[in-house]
Amino acid sequence: MGSVVGGRATRLVGGRTVMSPDTRTHNYLVPAIAAALAALFIYAGAGKVRDPLQFADAIAAFAILPATVINMLALSLPVFEIACGLLLLVPQTRKIGTLAVALSSLIFFAALLSALVRGLTLDCGCFGSGAPSRPRMWLELGLDVVLFSSSLFAYCRLLGRDNNVTLSASGSPSRIGA
């Protein structure tokens, strides 16, 4: 006998309700992903918040945004990244944090891909300043894919959990298995 209660797959063993090993892994997976993303975003944001001028130069190198927007982004994006990291660490705000990371990773990916397609060699400024390098740009593009997929996965898991909690609260928990 199995069921999903509050997003957790359970079964009855000897009169006690226990979680399957697979479910236990999933229960740790989302906080683990959130912690890794939080560490990365706080590290990336802290590196840039100290030197917004270098970061503004890195943004300008992409040749996408007008001069009126570059400094605004250079000042706010590092704070946004730190905020995302903090949201990911708190269970109550984790869902918004994962969505924010997914959306920003998608934007980073699009910007970096457009620079690569246009043949630009630049330092993306993702983790503070460094030397411009195309191999590093490809590596950071791959990192954006990992960030996007892992944050979207975590967001979907958290969204599913919330929906199940809502169903449970309304007195009709969904059931799986026999």
């Binding site: 917004p52 130069d57 000042l75 704070v79 969505l99 030397a131 411009p132």
Partner: protein, 171 residues
């Protein structure tokens, strides 16, 4: 939809926080972005009232010539990269004359420049596609120094050659 609203709210709060931090910063950013060249022109204008335009660009030198100058100490070597990079590693004997803080660094080094006015000056930056060395070299030409050259290989070529390096505080 509530989550998207939450993300937008965080973005707005970050924007406000970013501007607040900038307001109390020692070197606040202007509202509109200025390119390194525009910032550099502004720095240069603070040193000379009317910079002469249309100066020929500083000549470039290759690695063997640069190495000889460093080993024989026959030239003043300037590192045009920002101070944090200079601190992490630079060519032995080089002095930091950063493009981003040119007016301040130039005044700090004015005694050295006066004392070694008979020596040629060689400027380098990261290497490859960096423009800082050219900007600094042209600024020195504008300020009246006649024998100024650029080592285009820069720090990239010097460090890759496995030659001695120095690191530490800005001099």
């Amino acid at each position: 939809m509530r989550d998207v609203d939450g993300v937008l709210l965080i973005a707005l709060i970050s924007l406000a926080a970013g501007f607040s931090i900038n307001r109390f910063s020692t070197r606040p950013l202007p509202l509109v972005y200025q390119t390194p060249e525009q910032r550099f022109d502004a720095e240069l204008t603070s040193l000379v009232a009317a910079p002469p335009f249309a100066l020929p660009p500083a000549p470039t030198i290759g690695f063997p010539e640069f190495r000889t100058a460093v080993e024989k100490k026959s030239a003043l070597i300037f590192d045009a990269r920002p101070a944090p990079f200079f601190i992490q590693g630079h060519v032995p004997g080089a002095l930091n004359l950063a493009r981003d803080d040119f007016a301040h660094d130039y005044q700090r080094l004015s005694a050295v420049l006066k004392a070694a006015s008979d020596k040629p000056i060689i400027v380098y930056c990261s290497g490859g596609v960096c423009h800082d060395s050219r900007l600094v070299a042209n600024a020195l030409l504008t300020l009246g120094f006649s024998d100024v050259r650029v080592f285009t290989g820069g720090w990239e070529v010097w460090s890759a050659a496995g030659l001695p390096v120095s690191w530490g505080a800005v001099r």
